[in-house]
Structures are given as structure tokens and as C-alpha cells.
Symmetry: C3
Subunit: 351 residues, 3 copies
């Protein structure tokens, strides 16, 4: 437990350093790197704290808390990006989170998991992967028909915002219906039995850490987005690459490490659960919430994306289902998912 507090103190120090860099107009690239690292730490703090808080209420509440709070840093980044008019970065970091989780992290987790099995095959419950595929296909469907309608200059395109909001509400209803049934099922509780590998914080300390982490997430996101524009220019990277790769990997760093290490330790079901929940949550909770929240801003976030990302998203949903839908995965399938991410990143690099 002392170790947990020590790490939290370290993260706080990095966050403060980020603030100092921000207010002293330091080199943007440095501010960008430091605040980005601190955001990763904050995501870890939220993970620890929600788990400890949840322990008091049982696994269902833990799941719900993690689902709603776990993506807090990402939520703030996108909100600040939107308020700064960085619509490209906002949209690309959501898409990037989807691709990073569904392709890179899942691929690495499968590779790690299958390499450690004697028969080279990772096995897990097939229900969650199939549910995630359903949710992801729903989101892809919505995004596709909006994107395709925009593509050909339909009259409906003028009503992108209205249709996006209607779609967002549909996604939230379906996600809520899924979450209720998921939390009720016993699967969740079985997973929780395996979970408490690291020490739990006392309830009060956990709530306090949650509060601190929330404030930090908000501040750091602001500074991070502020440094992003000049930093990207100094580094000569495109905004698309920044959003789709750098922000996406930084924002999901903790889930990534957790999922891969769980797979390596043989907790196949738990590893798959972390990645899959993350994917469906971004597609069917975070994205629609941000679309609705963006109504308060000058720059609106819609589900309309370029055809190349639309195609990539559709094929990601289908590949995800194809590879994990049978409840087993082997090395080459993990490598295939990682390859898809590498090719996508290469494409965006040249964008």
C-alpha cells in the first residue's frame, strides 16, 4: 500500500512539473511529453481508486465505476481539444483509442497469452467478444451511413449534427441495456475473484485519490492540448498521426500494460475482458457522450469520418469478431491484429 502512495506521489510530482512547464512557457515538446506522461499516471490512479472504492460495493459496481470513470482523462482531452477548436485531434484521438485497443492491445495480449500456453492457444469465454462485436458493429453502422451520406453530398448531410445526436442517443440506450445485462451476469463476479492482485486502498483514501485524479485529469488535459499544436509543428508530425497514434497510446497506456500482463500471467478471460470493455465503452459510451457534449461548443463533434477510417473501422469490427468470436486465439491472429495497426499507423504517418 505504501508503494501505491509512493507511485501516486511521483505522478503528482510529474503533474506539478507539467503545470510549471505550462505556465513558464517552456519548450512545447517538453510540456507535451511531461503532461502526456502525467495523464498516463492519472489513468492508473483512477484505475486503482475505482477498484478500491468498488470493493466496498461488490464487483458489479466496480465494473460500472471503471466503465464510467476509467476513460476520464480521454474525455477531458477530447473536451479541451474541442473547446480549442482542434476538431481533428478530438475525433482522431477517439478513433485512435478504438484502433489502439482493438488492434494493438488486443493483438499484443493475444500474442503474449498464446506464447505462454503449452499448446499455443489462448482460450476465453466467447460471450464478451461477441457482445463487443455487436456493439462495435452498431457504432460502425451508424458511422458508416453518416459517412457515406456525407460522401455523396446528400441533402441529409446538412443535418449531420441532428442525425449524429439521434445516433448517439441510440448508442447510449443500447450500451445501457448491454451494461445492465452484463453486470447482472455471474461472469463479472467470477472475474472479480481473480482480480484483487494488488493491494486495496482504504475507502476514504480511495475517494480522496479519485477526487485528486479527477482534478489532475482536467488540468493536465488542458495543458496537454495547449502544448499539442506547437509541439506537433516542432516535431513535424501530422495532427492525424498525433491523435490516432500518440494521444491514443498515451491515453490508453495503463489498460494496455494491464491487459498484456494479465494475458502473460495466464488470466486469459480477464485480459480479454479489460480490452473488450474498453473498446465497447469508447465506441458506444465515450464517443456518443462527446458528440452530445460537443453541442455546448462552437465546434461540433459528429460521427462523420473520412472513408478510409470508416473502412478501417468496419474491418476492425469484423476482424475482432472473426478472431476472438470463437473463444480461442493463437499467435498468428495476435500478429495479424498488430499488423493491421502498424499498416494504419504507417498510412497516417504519411497523411
Amino acid at each position: 500500500m505504501t508503494r501505491t502512495y509512493a507511485i501516486a506521489a511521483g505522478i503528482l510530482a510529474v503533474a506539478i512539473a507539467g503545470g510549471v512547464l505550462h505556465f513558464t512557457d517552456a519548450e512545447p515538446v517538453v510540456t507535451f511529453a511531461v503532461t502526456g506522461a502525467a495523464l498516463g499516471g492519472v489513468a492508473w490512479m483512477i484505475g486503482i481508486a475505482t477498484e478500491s472504492v468498488g470493493a466496498r460495493f461488490g464487483p458489479a459496481v466496480t465494473g460500472a465505476l471503471q466503465s464510467t470513470l476509467g476513460n476520464l482523462p480521454e474525455l477531458f482531452i477530447v473536451l479541451f481539444a474541442l473547446s480549442a477548436g482542434e476538431v481533428v485531434v478530438a475525433q482522431f484521438s477517439i478513433l485512435g483509442s478504438l484502433f489502439a485497443n482493438a488492434l494493438l492491445v488486443l493483438g499484443l495480449a493475444i500474442a503474449a497469452g498464446s506464447l505462454r500456453r503449452a499448446d499455443g492457444t489462448m482460450t476465453f469465454g466467447a460471450r464478451l467478444p461477441n457482445d463487443t462485436a455487436t456493439l462495435l458493429l452498431l457504432a460502425v453502422f451508424l458511422i458508416s451511413i453518416l459517412g457515406l451520406s456525407d460522401q455523396v453530398g446528400d441533402r441529409a448531410s446538412e443535418h449531420q449534427v441532428a442525425i449524429s445526436v439521434a445516433g448517439a442517443l441510440c448508442l447510449l440506450v443500447v450500451y445501457a441495456a448491454w451494461l445492465v445485462s452484463y453486470l447482472r451476469s455471474d461472469r463479472r463476479s467470477e472475474q472479480a475473484l481473480v482480480e484483487p492482485s494488488h493491494t486495496m486502498l482504504p475507502f476514504g483514501a480511495a475517494v480522496a485519490m479519485l477526487a485528486v485524479a479527477g482534478v489532475l485529469a482536467a488540468l493536465l488535459s488542458d495543458w496537454f492540448v495547449d502544448a499539442l499544436d506547437p509541439a506537433v509543428e516542432a516535431l513535424g508530425i501530422s495532427k492525424a498521426f498525433t491523435g490516432l497514434v500518440i494521444v491514443a497510446i498515451a491515453g490508453n497506456a495503463v489498460e494496455n500494460v494491464v491487459a498484456v500482463s494479465l494475458a502473460w500471467k495466464g488470466h486469459d478471460d480477464l485480459a480479454i475482458s479489460v480490452v473488450k470493455n474498453s473498446v465497447s465503452q469508447i465506441a458506444c459510451f465515450l464517443f456518443p457522450v462527446l458528440v452530445i457534449a460537443s453541442l455546448a461548443f462552437e465546434h461540433r463533434l459528429t460521427f462523420v469520418i473520412e472513408p478510409v477510417y470508416l473502412g478501417a473501422l468496419a474491418l476492425t469490427a469484423i476482424s475482432l469478431w472473426q478472431i476472438t468470436g470463437d473463444g480461442r486465439a493463437v499467435l498468428f491472429e495476435g500478429l495479424a491484429l498488430v499488423s493491421l495497426y502498424v499498416v494504419l499507423a504507417t498510412l497516417v504517418w504519411f497523411e
Copy 2:
């Protein structure tokens, strides 16, 4: 049985009212509504009559009769729409029937079915959903390559009609091969054992009702299409919305009610069977037959549709397979399908 005749008499009265409205040049909106309602009634009459006729020959013939006659009103609507030069309405009402059955009706049936199960899970044979997915994918494949070829102005686009006819013949051959194997399998007969919940008509009465319903379907479709143009204009609705939503829901009203009520009563397999047969029949029988039949008209019906509907169709086929291919479905999956329909209808509303 007396009740059946009473309902049939009521439908006849509404149909006659529709005729009076048509020939007295009444308000088009009223004629449109009355003839539309009467067409729904005629679909019910055909359903009752084919079942009663089929009872004499056994379940296989009943299935074949229902497959070929059940969509008679829809067939007439599209033919009259084509002869009136309303190609948009014709094509959109076929597409709309597909979407209404595959998304709205199936979604509602799953929602109804899963809510009534203690464990919230509807279960059914996985064979028919997979067969339907195969047939729908075949139709989507054909439509996609034609649509995509049209999109980029290939030389082949000039030969749309020829390729559409070749594709239509392929679809019909595959559908026939599927129907033969489906009718031969014992599944059908098991379903028939559950089916005769409502009273059967005597053979003679059933044949007479079939003849009357056929004539009514032809007349009503003519009047319906005739009133459509001014009615739509008066209501300020687009033709796309009329075809894709209003005509589609009206034309499939009976199947819809039957499927949802069967699911509610716990006849999972039968409910799924009604929807799935309807979907594959529209895609692989009604659509190709109409494409071939349209050769006799000035305005040809082809498989070439706009990319947004093409994408929606492809994703509908994949979602259908993903959700029902495992022989089980839960509430959120039903809601997901309904959501897809809502988003699509919203899009077309603004079109």
C-alpha cells in the same frame, strides 16, 4: 371461422372505400391512407388463405405457397410504381422491406422474446439464420459490385441492365436450390406442428379468398401508387422516406405483427423463421423477379443503389448474421437492430 370471414368482409369494405375515394378524386392523403390500410388487410387475407390451402398438401407446399404468394401486394405495388415511372419509390420500397424486416421486425421480435424469458435469452435453431445470412450476403455482393462499378463510371455501368439480369438469374437459381433443401428438411414440418393456432378455412373458401385477395391486391396497388405522388407532396415527405419507411412498414405489417406476437408467446423458432424467410425471399426472390419483370416496362429496375444504402445493406447482412448466427439473442441485441433502423429512417427523413 366466422370471425375470419367478418374480418375479410371488413377488409373488403375498406378496399371498396379506397376504390370510391380513388374514382371520386378525393383528397390524395386520405386515398393513400385508406388504400395502404386495405393493402395490409389483403396481405393478411393471403396469409390465412395460403395456409388453409396448404393444409391440404402438407407443410412443404404451405411454405412454398407462402413464399411465393405472401409478398403479392408488395409485388403489385412495385410493378405499378414502375409502370407509373416511380422508379425511386419502387426500388426504395424493396430496400425498405428488407430493412424493415431484417432490422425493425427482427429487433422487436428479439426484444419481445428475450423479455419473456426468465434468463433474458431467446434461443432458436442456428441453421436458418445462417442460411439467411448466406442468401443476403449473396444479394449484397451482387448489389455492391454493381453499385461500386456504377459509382466510378466504369464502362460496365452502361450494361447495368444486362448485368442486373444475369445477377437476378443467379439469385433465383441459388434461392431455388436453398428452398428445395429447406422444404425437404424436417425442420419445416416441426414448425408446422406448432403453427395452426387460428382456424383453418375449408379448401374451396380458401381458394376463393385467394382469388379475391389477388384481384384486390392488384387494384389497391394501382390506386395506392396513384395517390402516392400528390399525397407525399401534400405531407411534405420525401419519396425516399415514403418508400423506405411508410410503404415498407405498411407492406409488411402482417408479418411484423405475427413475428412479434409469436416471439412474445415463446415460439422463438417460429418467430425467427417468419422474419428470416421474409428477408431472404425479398432479397433473393422478389427483387430479382422484379428486375426481370421490369424489362417489360419503359423504366427498368436495376440492382444499382446509392452507396449509403449499399453500405447499410452490407452492414445489415453482417449484423443479422452476427446477432442471430449463434442461435441465441438477448435484449440489447434486439435494441441494437431497432436502433439501426431508427438511424436509417432518421437519415432518410432528412434526405
Copy 3:
């Protein structure tokens, strides 16, 4: 064995005739037909020879040899087409091989196999079809995002060659990982027990035949490509049709006959294995190897294809998975696959 040598001698005679026609500037259509037929024979020689050589090392090596050498004639055709600047023919003959194997040959094999079963159902291991679907989806994903990016004139399109090479390397790594796990699995050896239906050649004779066949493949491909342009013009066929249909069927003639006859004889697993291995090898080995090899030529081969073939490829991958992923197939599914090929060929015919 004498029969094998006799057939080989016959093929040699046809190849020599092809050479004579080539050097005497004979009617191009005749040269085209004769060299095309000889190439089919050379593919058969390579098949026999690799199997006989492999028998010395066991089934795993046989599989690896067949995988790497079996597509030798196709490899040469594409290389000579590229060096002659016939990029369209080169790319279309790779795509055509994919479509011919995945749709036409698989469809015919399923039709043959299911017709001979008493219950009309062909059954086979579900692992290989699913692995092939994974590999094919990976290739489709790569091709799609490149094609879509090219479509909209992204800046990344200028870097097509770089991204194609990155993608090619990814495909090769994943294919290698799959091949290793596939060769290790016992499945292969079980299949080998069924295989040696025709007589094996002695080791020395097999190596000699392999050498002769390799040289013939190179020479014939050169003559074949040389005659292609004038022959196609004389026949009034488009280059797309030549590549996608004629070269594709000629180049895979042997696999085709083998797969269909195996299915007819009831060796369901083996028939599926021949087709599936062929498909994944073309998509994840031959295509990337040729993309990389083309760096040495003036005309580069990339993964960028027109949207209509991209859509067809994506739907082929999905249909393949949908139909064979459950380890069983019936007549109408085989006909559906053949239909897809017929529609595609019709489209290209008018191109």
C-alpha cells in the same frame, strides 16, 4: 509411374510447340492458347514433383514445398507481365487467382462434395477455413485502406509504394507465423495419410522434373505474356477479363481439378485444404512477394485496386468465412459462391 512420365513428356511436347510458335511469329491467339495449356501442365508437373520430393522429408516439408513452389507459374507470369509493363494484367491475374480459388473452385468443390453425401452436407474441420478467413481479412484490410486512401486523393497516396511494402512485410510475417503453427499441428499429417493416391516418383527423378518444370515455367510465362497483348486484341476481350478470368483459371487449372475431384471422392477435408491453402497463399504470400519483387522493375505493383474489386474482395473474404466457418457446407452455398464468380466475370466482361 510410366503414365506420369508419359504425361510429362506430352506436356514437354506442348511446351516445345509453344516455343516454336513464339519464335516463328505464329498467330498470337494460337501461341497464347498453346503456351497457356502448357503452363497448366507445368503446374501439374510441379505438383507431382514437390509431393514426391516431400515424401522423403515428411508431410510438413511437403506442405511447405507445395506452398512455395505450387504457384511458380503464376509468379513467373506476373513477373514477366510487370517487366513488359502490363501492370493491369499482372494485378488482375493475382486478384483473379484469388476470386477463382475462393469463389469458383471452392463453390464447385462444395457443390460436388454435397451432391455425393446422402444428407447433402459436406463436413470438414472448421479450423483451416477460419484461419484462411483471418489471413484473407488481413490482406483485405490492408488493400482496403490503401485503396480508400487512394480514392480520396489523400496525401498518403503519394506514398503508395512505401505503404504497400510495409504492408507486404506485415503480411509475410503473419503468414510465416501461421505456416509454422499449421505445419506443426497434427492435422497436416492426418491429411497426408489420405493423400498418396497417385504413384510417387523416385527422389532423383522428382528433383529433375522440378528443375525442368521451373525452367519451362519461366520460358512459357515469357512467351505467354508476349502473345497476350495481340491475342487479346484479336479476340476483342478486355485485359481485365483476360487477367481476372482467363489467366486466373488457366493458372489454377490443376488445383481446381484436384480440389473438385477430391470433394467428389469424399475427401472433404483434403479438398477444402487444397483450396484454402491456395487462397491464403496467394493473398498473404504471392501478392506481397510480388509487390516487393516489383521494386526491381520500372512498373511497380501496389495493393491499390479499384473500389469495385476492393468491395468484391471484402465480400469474398466475408462470404468464405460465413459459408465454411462452421465446418459444413451444402449445395446452395456452393452455388452461391459460383454465382458470385459468374456475376464478377460478367461485370469484367463488359468492362
